[in-house]
């Protein structure tokens, strides 16, 4: 079954369209249902590489530093993301611990790491397909932006009864969330199209 690279089927309604060349930053939409068909990213793969590398560094910082620091009557306390997960495990909350580990820590880290691998190996077509599949399958399960909001809500909640300060990790997570947003906006399928 020979593929037809000049055609595109809408992911939502299956209408068939002929591809037209786009200028950088433009998006093609389905004529029938309006869903996005494909996009020509404003950023080049090299620029995406720089953004992914930055996201990797900020995520590492975010995972090592305390998220919130607080004190009650002079007794200090702080926690990292992993610290919180270990506490949940210790209390026997296995489901919650797994969910937070996956969506808050593992999937975002994997997303960025695999994205780096994908962008660094355009000359290895045998690696590109599995990396592309993994990144696009994992992406919806990374929830860094939701976690940042969760950190802010916790800050407000604790501020009623204790002295609280946002830790370095909360800022690092916020920056990571923005970078991941830029990465999600980059149409990965473009890489597969160009590999042909």
């Amino acid at each position: 079954m020979p593929p037809s690279p000049s055609l595109i089927a809408c992911r939502e309604c299956d209408s068939l369209h002929r591809r037209v060349p786009l200028a950088a930053g433009e998006t093609a939409h389905c004529l029938r249902c309006g869903a996005e068909l494909y996009r020509r990213p404003r950023l080049h793969p090299e620029q995406m590489l720089a953004i992914s590398l930055t996201a990797f560094i900020t995520l590492i910082i975010a995972n090592c530093q305390p998220i919130i620091e607080m004190s009650i009557n002079g007794i200090p306390s702080s926690t990292t993301l992993l610290g919180s997960i270990l506490v949940l495990l210790h209390e026997g909350r296995l489901t919650l611990a797994t969910l937070v580990l996956g969506t808050g820590m593992l999937f975002p880290l994997l997303d960025v790491t695999l994205m780096l691998a994908l962008l660094l190996t355009p000359h290895l077509p045998r690696l590109q397909a599995p990396l592309f599949r993994l990144v696009s399958a994992l992406r919806p399960w990374g929830m860094t932006e939701v976690f940042v909001l969760g950190g802010l809500v916790s800050l407000v909640k604790l501020s009623h009864s204790a002295r609280v300060v946002a830790g370095a990790a909360l800022w690092a997570f916020a920056v990571s969330a923005l970078l991941l947003l830029v990465m999600a906006h980059f149409d990965l399928r473009r890489l597969m199209d160009e590999a042909e």
Binding site: S15, G34, S77, K157
Partner: protein
């Protein structure tokens, strides 16, 4: 078959939903470019979606009735369900936060369950509801579902932080697991529902 917009299936083709390649034939197989599983229409999409929704609807009950956070202080133990946590915010003056958490923790999961059930039902039994409105609802459900994880992260952070011997201890409650499961199950249901089926059944109405 709608004359104005022929689908890939009408023309004997299949589009890979991962990488976008259009392949001849409508049989299941692997995409020759990215090796994802191809399907002209996801097999048993609606049945699987119903199963996931039923599981989520059942777990929605303990998720809202059981405490998700247990606070122990010198003055006693307080068990907070999602709703009582929201009331606490409302009463202590953080009304904006109360509204935010009510929206993401109670409203979004409920609306998501109802919307997905409606979309799944109307994909099999179209009765002239606007397909364009249903498509918009589908996209909305796909985007907002993840925000329901908010309270899970809050509980995890509070449990990690508040560990003072006599002065205060916060633990996750038994409601957290079913709540997290509702979020995951409804996200899976949204991924399982093949929107192309909605458009297929709407075709003759256009």
């Amino acid at each position: 078959m709608s004359a104005a917009h022929p689908t890939a299936r009408d023309l004997g083709l299949t589009g890979c939903r991962r990488c976008g390649l259009v392949v001849r034939g409508t049989d299941a197989g692997l995409c020759p470019r990215c090796q994802s599983r191809l399907s002209s229409r996801q097999p048993n999409s609606l049945t699987r979606c119903w199963a996931l929704l039923a599981a989520a609807a059942i777990l929605y009950v303990p998720a809202n009735l059981l405490p998700i956070m247990v606070t122990t202080t010198l003055f006693g133990t307080q068990r907070d369900t999602i709703l009582s946590g929201i009331l606490y915010f409302w009463e202590t003056g953080s009304r904006g936060l109360a509204v935010l958490i009510f929206t993401v923790s109670i409203l979004i999961p409920l609306l998501k369950l109802i919307s997905l059930a409606y979309l799944t039902y109307s994909a099999a039994h179209p009765r002239g509801q606007s397909i364009h409105q249903r498509a918009r609802l589908y996209r909305l459900v796909e985007v907002i579902g993840r925000w329901s994880m908010l309270d899970m992260f809050v509980v995890a952070l509070m449990a990690g932080l508040v560990r003072f011997q006599n002065m205060g201890l916060i633990e996750a409650g038994p409601g957290a697991a079913p709540f997290g499961a509702v979020v995951v199950l409804t996200m899976l249901a949204a991924l399982t529902l093949d929107p192309r089926l909605m458009w297929d059944s709407a075709e003759d109405k256009e």
